[in-house]
């Protein structure tokens, strides 16, 4: 047992501080996505775990609901119309004095009718004369609301806001945009490692240089090529195959480099032995190299997949903003503009876009880290 020292306590506290600071923003987003949108707009998410006091306005029923008992006319209903679980503790009948009465007390309207409101929202409205108005009167209540969480926001964004479709679109972009580079780069990396040909070293140096070339350097010419291509063949310049190839291009250098880094660690005797036995490069690749590279493929797959899934820029440039093509990140950015104050939409939308990355993160963290650490060597 280590002894408890000042340093160790301090270390723990400092680390705890970092952990809390890092988790709180995401946690707040997640909690908010589960809250009722009206409550979300007026109170901080950290209040959602405790019973909150809220002021609300309800309207009583009108004349249609009245019954006559003895000499009096009554309207006996519930302000909440069932459903909600709130506990009223004060109420009022004018906007100037919204918490004038204790619950259970009887309040007097200007027209001399009397109303009593109870804790659970039941009220009894009593009048000597018949109720004439179709519309009821406003009742101001102060209620305690226990913590409630709902999945309504998720239904709303997935179905009504079109995030469900955007989710599918992103998947349709990300899967091929990860698999295609993996396929063509594995052959490429094999050739760079085990085949002898003129210009191999220059090609390798080109890959290393391309690793750090900013995406922005490529956007305008590639977009021009796409537009020309589209015009020439009478197809849209913005399409799924188009963005797959764009992502393939922009991810090619890093995928190749990571694979090359891995392949050169394989024992060369093994490859050469296979070659001496008369196996072609293709056989060697499929039967020896690929099975050995599965863990490395997994790491690279995750890195590229997350990169594509989280990308915004390439999606903005190479896909339409039409609902059938728009990707999650672009949709989210659009919502930030158009629904900037609707936090229930934004928080839920953001969380939907994070589900797949977070799932991959928690289930395949080992491969993710391995890929990052391997990639870090490239600088």
């Amino acid at each position: 047992m280590k002894k408890i020292t000042f340093t160790s306590v301090f270390s723990q506290l400092l680390l705890l501080f970092f952990v809390v600071a890092w988790i709180v923003p995401t946690f707040g987003l997640f909690i908010s996505s589960l809250r009722d949108k009206d409550v979300l707009a007026i109170s901080g998410w950290w209040t959602s775990f405790t019973t909150t006091e809220i002021n609300e306005i309800y309207r009583t029923e009108g004349k249609d609901a009245q019954i006559k008992e003895g000499n009096y006319y009554f309207i006996k209903r519930n302000l909440f119309d069932g459903g909600q679980e709130k506990e009223i503790f004060r109420f009022g009948v004018t906007s100037k004095n919204i918490d004038e009465y204790e619950v259970g007390e009887t309040a007097l309207f200007k027209d001399q009718t009397e109303i009593t409101v109870f804790e659970n929202g039941d009220y009894i409205w009593k009048s000597e004369e018949e109720f004439k108005k179709k519309k009821g009167k406003r009742i101001f209540v102060s209620a305690k609301s226990p913590p409630t969480f709902t999945l309504d926001n998720y239904k709303e964004v997935l179905l009504k806001e079109g995030l469900g479709q955007a989710f599918l679109n992103t998947l349709a972009v990300a899967l091929p945009a990860t698999l295609i580079p993996l396929i063509i780069c594995s052959y490429f990396a094999y050739a760079l490692t085990w085949m002898k040909f003129y210009g191999r070293d220059i090609l390798l140096a080109t890959i290393i240089a391309s690793l750090v070339v900013p995406l922005q350097m490529c956007l305008i010419p590639v977009l021009t090529i796409y537009n020309d291509f589209g015009a020439l063949f009478g197809v849209s310049a913005k399409s799924f195959p188009g963005i797959w190839m764009a992502h393939t291009g922009f991810g090619l250098a890093s995928t190749t480099f990571l694979l090359w880094n891995f392949l050169k660690t394989l024992p060369s005797e093994m490859i050469e032995a296979a070659r001496v036995d008369g196996a072609t490069h293709y056989d060697t690749f499929i039967k020896i190299v690929v099975p050995l590279s599965i863990p490395s493929f997994a790491s690279i797959f995750i890195l590229q997949f997350l990169w594509v899934w989280n990308d915004l820029l390439v999606g903005l440039v190479f896909l339409d903003k039409h609902p059938s093509e728009i990707i999650l990140t672009a949709k989210l950015k659009e919502l930030l503009g158009s629904r900037g104050e609707n936090w229930e939409i934004l928080t839920t939308g953001a969380f939907v876009s994070m589900t797949v990355p977070l799932f991959i993160f928690f289930s395949l963290q080992r491969y993710f880290i391995r890929g990052l650490v391997a990639g870090s060597i490239k600088g």
Partner: protein, 327 residues
């Protein structure tokens, strides 16, 4: 599109490439049996099959565009008429450009420094407590989140309501609880840049953390124990043994984050779109790609500026690669 048609499109797209490699190699093997003497020819055809798809993609999407962008920077907005250095002189006079350069420099100084420092400190702390791996996971988690998602998370943190209203953004709620006035953090020029940088730091600290964690394991325990027996404080050990030992790693992480920061686009685009003096090169470049029907000349100049920023790293990488090859 329905799930079904999306799935079909995806499948065809992927299978196309699998089929290409399979059938081209199959054909080659087939003809080899017929003309087995031409071994050299077979080999070079095989090389071509292996590298051609990747090379074509590399050429179309990286090599050609880089030179084309440089060329376009000397042409007018539609890329047809040569205008010499006009776009460059426009850039120098443009206030947005000046703002972008200053902001990018700020990002370059602040983000890699703090992320690397935090990563190093947390990696050290996490190594000595039993719940270290959970802590690492949590701090690493933002790495999996998109910049736009992170943007929403932090925009919510920075949310502003007028004084007197209930604050729903955590930062303002804390400010109010401490007796300060609530602030619209993202609209306060100069300072708002720091609030945007915080997002990037929040994300990239995790990267630094995992790489440092891996590297820390390579420090021999004997060295650390020896220092402790000699009575060195933990702080002293950190600065005098760990930091010098990880010098290479620090440099590597620094460069990765630097490259990323030079290209920073999503965060700015989603949070402020360059308003309130938060403009950066990548966002300005995107803006000019489409503003007024698009100006490829100005856009190219801005992209070129980002390339110039990464050039030292590019040269250094090539140099290191050359050194490695010699060994």
């Amino acid at each position: 599109m329905s799930i079904f048609s999306l799935a079909i499109t995806v499948l065809i797209g992927v299978l196309f490439f699998v089929a290409f490699f399979h059938f081209s190699n199959f054909l080659l093997d087939y003809f080899r049996v017929r003309a087995s003497k031409k071994f050299a020819l077979e080999n070079s055809i095989r090389v071509i099959i292996f590298i051609a798809p990747a090379f074509i993609v590399l050429f179309v999407f990286i090599l050609y565009p880089v030179f084309e962008t440089i060329r376009l920077s000397f042409y007018d907005k539609i890329g047809e008429n040569f205008v010499g250095l006009y776009n460059y002189s426009w850039a120098i006079k443009d206030p947005d450009f000046k703002r972008s350069i200053i902001n990018n420099l700020g990002w370059l100084i602040v983000v890699p420094t703090i992320s690397t420092f935090f990563g190093l400190v947390i990696a050290n702390l996490a190594d000595r407590v039993w719940w270290g791996s959970i802590a690492k996971s949590i701090i690493f988690m933002p790495m999996a989140i998109s910049f736009v998602g992170a943007g929403v998370i932090w925009k919510f943190m920075y949310d502003y309501r007028g004084p007197g209203d209930q604050q729903i953004g955590l930062l303002n709620a804390i400010a109010v609880a401490l007796g300060f006035e609530p602030q619209a953090w993202l609209t306060i020029p100069i300072w708002n840049n720091l609030f945007l940088m915080a997002i990037m730091i929040w994300i990239q600290t995790g990267l630094a953390l995992v790489i440092f964690s891996a590297a820390l394991r390579s420090i021999p325990n004997e060295t650390l124990d020896a220092a402790r027996i000699d009575g060195a404080s933990e702080l002293k050990i950190f600065w005098s043994i760990i930091v010098p030992f990880l010098e290479q790693t620090i440099l590597v992480i620094w460069t990765i984050i630097t490259i990323l920061v030079l290209k920073v686009f999503d965060i700015i685009y989603a949070m402020t779109n360059g308003q309130w003096q938060t403009e950066v090169l990548a966002n300005l470049m995107y803006d000019w790609m489409f503003r007024g029907g698009g100006d490829s000349g100005r856009g190219s100049v801005l992209a070129f500026c980002i390339l110039i920023g990464v050039t030292p790293i590019l040269a250094w990488n090539l140099y290191r690669h050359k050194q490695d090859q010699k060994v």
